[in-house]
Symmetry: C2
Subunit: 247 residues, 2 copies
């Protein structure tokens, strides 16, 4: 770790000073300038560099610890934690296999399901006619400590009515889809963006309402390319990052 | 568009009511439940559904319009805008080619460069020894209206000292890397996550300090797999989404 040059914070800005420091340190850690195992500068060094009271630094560090970015070792200092879990986006990507690598038992909970009419957008993604009936299923899935996803799955209701009940019984889509005649499915397309969580999502994922969540939207298809489902997995930011390997 | 069932907002929550509505509508649009060209329910319908004053709905809609998610047509209503630009992550992914598809001339501006010592993390990504000297170059790049990126590029300073000056002259890394003996480079690995912008980033990208930005981190390598650079592109959320096609 290099010695810390003077750093700027802006007083009276809409973003509180402690949060500016948190954002700044998050940048260093997330970008890899401070890597896993690196020791952060001391509270006193950080306070001097930012020209703030040590208490302000302490608040920022506490928030980083809550987010799992740093770990404090009493008397030794504050260290950058291990990198977040990586979810590799591939043709074989399946949340159920990802969670099985992280935890012994899949823990998928059905939250609610509803039927709605397909607009042009969703009809296009699922290769249906606009106006077709869609089954929208919301689930909460956990994959090991701290890694959960609030998931939306959208199905053609004509083919998949009842898959919500199958999910409730089986706690995972892989066996549910097998019961519906799709023992195999593959990731066709994936989009990644982020937004703030809805109140329901924030509550279920136990994240702050003003902290962004990552959203992975995708289409899963059969071997012949026919769309099976459109999904959107909402994951707390910072606990997981998406990885794409270019072969 | 279906008729709007009753929707809940929470008063006295840390997130203001207009923002809760904005988040809720953003969810509908981003997830595709309301697709491009769809007309949003009227202000009056939304106000009734959320049980709020029309002014509150108007504030939320104004924010959506600012973010480019909706377009208002006087007298006709508010419509979902076109989907954001998609950046496809592939072995051939290059920001310079992406921007050339969106705008005629690359507009890359050198912001600053600095030298720092490689920690284990960055040394590992660039296949260098820890302690090697790194050149960190910060640039601002524009690709068409509203799509810009604040970029960090990290190079082995022993091989690439002076590439910051080449970038300043050429406004793009592709020709700069060619001058340094790398006419070809390929995307080896990509990670996507999000965070809040640093003050510098927010200012350069002209985004609100409390609005998340997406971060694409990556390693570009030569044909033989030798790492050339580690990059991180910070892009305003909502203007661009990342797409991964599984072959």
């Amino acid at each position: 770790m290099e010695s810390l040059p003077r750093r700027r914070v802006r007083r009276g800005a809409p973003v509180p000073v402690w949060r500016q420091i948190e954002i700044d340190l998050t940048f260093e850690i997330r970008t890899g300038f401070w890597g896993p195992g690196d020791r952060l500068p001391s509270e006193a060094e950080l306070a001097a560099a930012y020209g703030v009271h040590r208490h302000t630094v302490r608040v920022a560090l506490a928030r980083l610890a809550e987010e799992g970015l740093v770990v404090s070792h009493q008397g030794k200092g504050v260290f950058v934690a291990r990198r977040p879990v990586e979810y590799a986006v591939t043709r074989e990507s399946k949340w159920s296999e990802f969670e099985q690598r992280l935890a012994a038992n899949p823990d998928g909970k059905l939250l609610r399901s509803s039927v709605r009419t397909a607009n042009a957008e969703l009809a296009g993604l699922l290769a249906l006619a606009p106006g077709a009936e869609l089954l929208v299923v919301e689930t909460l899935r956990r994959a090991g400590p701290g890694v959960s996803a609030y998931c939306y799955h959208v199905f053609d209701n004509a083919r998949f009515a009842g898959i919500d009940a199958a999910f409730r019984r089986l706690h995972s889509y892989t066996p549910a889809l097998a019961e519906f005649g799709h023992p195999e499915f593959f990731r066709a397309k994936t989009w990644i963006d982020c937004r703030l969580p809805r109140a329901d999502e924030a509550r279920a994922l136990a994240v702050a309402a003003d902290t962004p969540v990552m959203v992975m939207s995708y289409v899963d298809a059969g071997r012949d390319g026919t769309p099976i489902l459109f999904g959107a997995a909402v994951v707390p930011n910072g606990r997981l990052r998406f990885r794409i390997d270019s072969p």
